[in-house]
Amino acid sequence: MSIASKTRLTAGTARLITLSSTMPWAFAMLFLLCLPFVFQTSSALTIMNQMAITIVFALSYNMLLGQGGMLSFGHAVYMGLGGFFAMHVMNMVEDGLWLPLPLLPIVGGLFGLLFAFIIGSFSTRRAGTVFAMISLGVGELIAACSVILVVFFGGEEGISGDRTMGPPVFGYEFLSQQEVYYLTVFWLLLATLLMYLFSRTPIGRIANAVRDNEERAEFLGYSQRNVRWISFCASGFFAGVAGSLFAINFEILTEENLNLATSGSILLVTFIGGVGFFVGPIIGAIVFTFLQTVLGLHTELWALYLGILFVGCVMFFPSGFAGLIAMHRRPLALGKLNLLFKPYLKVALPAITSVLSLAAILEILFHKRHGYGGDHEMVLYGISFDSTGYHALVMAAAIAAVSLFLVFRLLPEIRAAWDNANHAEAQA
């Protein structure tokens, strides 16, 4: 389906493909192509692949939440089912079916689409709470089935396959992580482009209209249910693509690909990034994967930090990181962005210090309480100390207090600078 819009783009009027509209894509492509030359280890590549998959998944989720106004607690179902089917097809390839690996995401996407079509037929009748609850119920149901239907889902071990058994594509067999990276990036760019273009189609725009005011849209000739259903199917397709990419990368799918935790975390990813912006989920996916894998290497408390970040985000900047960036469009347009640099720089040091020292307090407390028994030595930010005493705690608290005090002292200045930068006439 979305392939159609792609051909339209290339076949369509060329003059509308302007330099400014293709620049970001070209830049992204170049950037992604160069990344493996900087990060060569296969674990770095794996993490980048993971990011790419999360980006596709989060973008597909935002087709629902951000663009269609549907809050889903069960989106992992479509990614997971797409992935499971892709994995089964991968195993069929091993048994002789002819299908080059790069085409596998289409298979997964179609199955994601199929299930979105079936489930969407009743879940999209209403938006809001009812939709959210049905998505939760379906999510729980499929996740529970995955343990019962062992033949298909492989039970708790999941099912695995070998991506290298397909026909070689231009001599590549996808043995190395690097080859897989380029395959993933190809699909990342393609899927992102297609989803972006989808938001520019009549149905994409009407999805926004239905999100804003479903009743008004009905009086313009649109069935709100059909609009949601179509968005839902499209979203299911791309979730299935993400699932297939997962299958290709990790060569295993398990119950965790379907369960509520995965569905919940994609909500978190998308929201942190910013649901109101196309790039929001991309930012969210990068930040989240980074925090999860890299922060996870350094602290057991990563989930706590993530939770704090999420709740803080909902409370204080509900438009997410993308929203924070977009806030600066007006100062930029007024040419007054430079007014903000100095106050930002001034507050950066105390702000970072306060975050780090608050985290230090948590870490020390946690270590005191749950550290491996008898292991009193603790290393934090490269400093090694004994966590049994109160010295370190008092010190961290003192640093936190001072830096927080500084941050609050600087707040009025920032606010003033912000107001100033946002008003065309203020300078005069």
Partner: protein, 414 residues
């Protein structure tokens, strides 16, 4: 991304140091188990046992390459997720680590053993070895067996063999109820129970054989009612974690006062949760023993463990074999970098396990054969679990358990 750069740098630096062959070579072992989330206790406990064993039995006595080298455990948190485990495996390999240890969850173990096999097939010159310290799904050393995987724990079948010995010796048991979690391990336990009971005590009636959804049952009372209602004289279960606590408490709460045979019915808060009610009722089958300590050496070893880790339990005695056996293999090869040779050296190795008696790494399927015990929850033991005033005491001791058991493994050696 900066962090990744840093990681690369450290990996590089580590490589350089290794290349310089310093006097104190560090042989690093990646410990990939849950260190956060609901199963963090299991992972933390395992890591502590490793660290203690390495310190007491390898590094301090200078048992690795005549004291020229030392073991170091590098923990990686897999959050008990297959996907995370594969990522952590990559990270570990990027850091130059070629020895992987894992144990919590057979599902993760099966993902890892496949990933390791795939990696070794794709990179035959740079293999990785996988030391499984407690994932007991029999398939790992049967249908899914492969050269690079070594299991140090007794598998579910071996444990069931010992467990049914204990049942067979008790003439009062006429009816048995088997209940477990609905996944590969639970099913393996159930079929093994049927097989061995039929063989050893054909007169015993299996009055219930049931699988319940894993981690989804809020209240085990209806199951407990069925068990009591069936008139069973003993319960066999492979449940672990919350499912073990829930089942145990419900069954005992419904008035059941006969033996409950478990695989994982102790430590990690379970012994404390059962408390007095479980004394004399809860049985545990496992490799090796801590109560009573099998030897004075073992006594000292366990004592020093509890000194170093007062908040944890020595819950998995077989884990104390991994580091010494690996050290012996490395000593035999003469270096720690020829992974293939080390793997060959581990095959068929005999070892005097500090807590598990005579231990052999069986060549045919890489399954460790060792002492398996059936233990009972007893108050006032020397080494208590969960600081609850009670612990597990060995009752039936089977040396070299199931040493001739059959395997379907067709090992392909490189």
């Amino acid at each position: 991304m900066k962090r990744l750069n840093f990681m690369m740098a450290t990996a590089l630096a580590a490589g350089l140091i290794a290349g310089a062959a310093a006097a104190q070579e560090k042989v690093r072992i990646a410990f990939i188990d849950p260190l956060s989330g609901p199963f963090a206790t299991t992972g933390t406990q395992g890591l502590s046992i490793y660290r203690h064993t390495i310190k007491e039995l390898v590094n301090e006595p200078g048992a690795l390459l005549d004291g020229q080298a030392e073991f170091e455990m590098v923990p990686f948190d897999n959050k008990i997720s297959a996907k995370e485990s594969l990522i952590q495996l990559q990270v570990a390999m990027d850091q130059g680590i070629r020895i992987i240890a894992q144990g919590a969850s057979s599902g993760v173990a099966s993902a890892l053993t496949e990933a390791v096999a795939k990696h070794n097939r794709r990179n035959p010159d740079d293999p990785v070895i996988f030391l499984n310290h407690s994932a007991v799904d029999p398939a790992l050393t049967n249908d899914k067996c492969q050269f690079w995987h070594f299991r140090f724990d007794a598998n579910a079948d071996i444990k069931m063999d010992a467990l049914t010995d204990d049942i067979a010796a008790n003439p009062e048991i006429k009816k048995v109820y088997v209940i477990g979690q609905d996944y590969s391990f639970g099913k393996a336990v159930a079929s093994a129970a049927q097989r061995f009971l039929k063989e050893k005590r054909p007169d015993i009636e299996i009055v219930g054989n049931e699988l319940h959804p894993i981690g989804k049952v809020k209240d085990f009372t209806p199951y407990a009612r069925k068990i009591v209602g069936s008139g069973a004289d003993a319960v066999i279960t492979g449940n672990w974690g919350g499912d073990m606590v829930g089942l145990g408490k419900a069954v005992m709460g419904a008035g059941f006062d006969k033996p409950i045979y478990t695989y994982y019915g102790a430590t990690s808060g379970i012994t404390a949760a059962f408390g007095e009610e479980g004394d004399g009722i809860v049985k545990l089958v496992g490799a090796g023993q801590v109560n009573p300590a099998p030897s004075p050496d073992a006594q000292a070893f366990i004592e020093s463990f509890y000194e170093s880790f007062p908040d944890l339990d020595l819950g998995q005695p077989q884990m104390a074999n991994v580091a010494p056996m690996l050290a012996a293999a490395i000593n035999e090869v003469g270096n720690a970098s020829d992974i293939k040779a080390i793997a060959y050296a581990l095959e068929g190795m005999e070892h005097d396990g500090i807590l598990t008696g005579k231990t052999v790494m069986r060549e045919s399927d890489h399954q460790a054969i060792q002492t398996v015990t059936v233990q009972g929850q007893t108050p006032g033991v020397t080494f208590e679990y969960d600081k609850s005033g009670r612990g597990m005491n060995a009752q039936t001791i089977v040396e070299m358990a199931s040493k001739d058991s059959a395997t379907t493994c067709e090992m392909k050696r490189p």
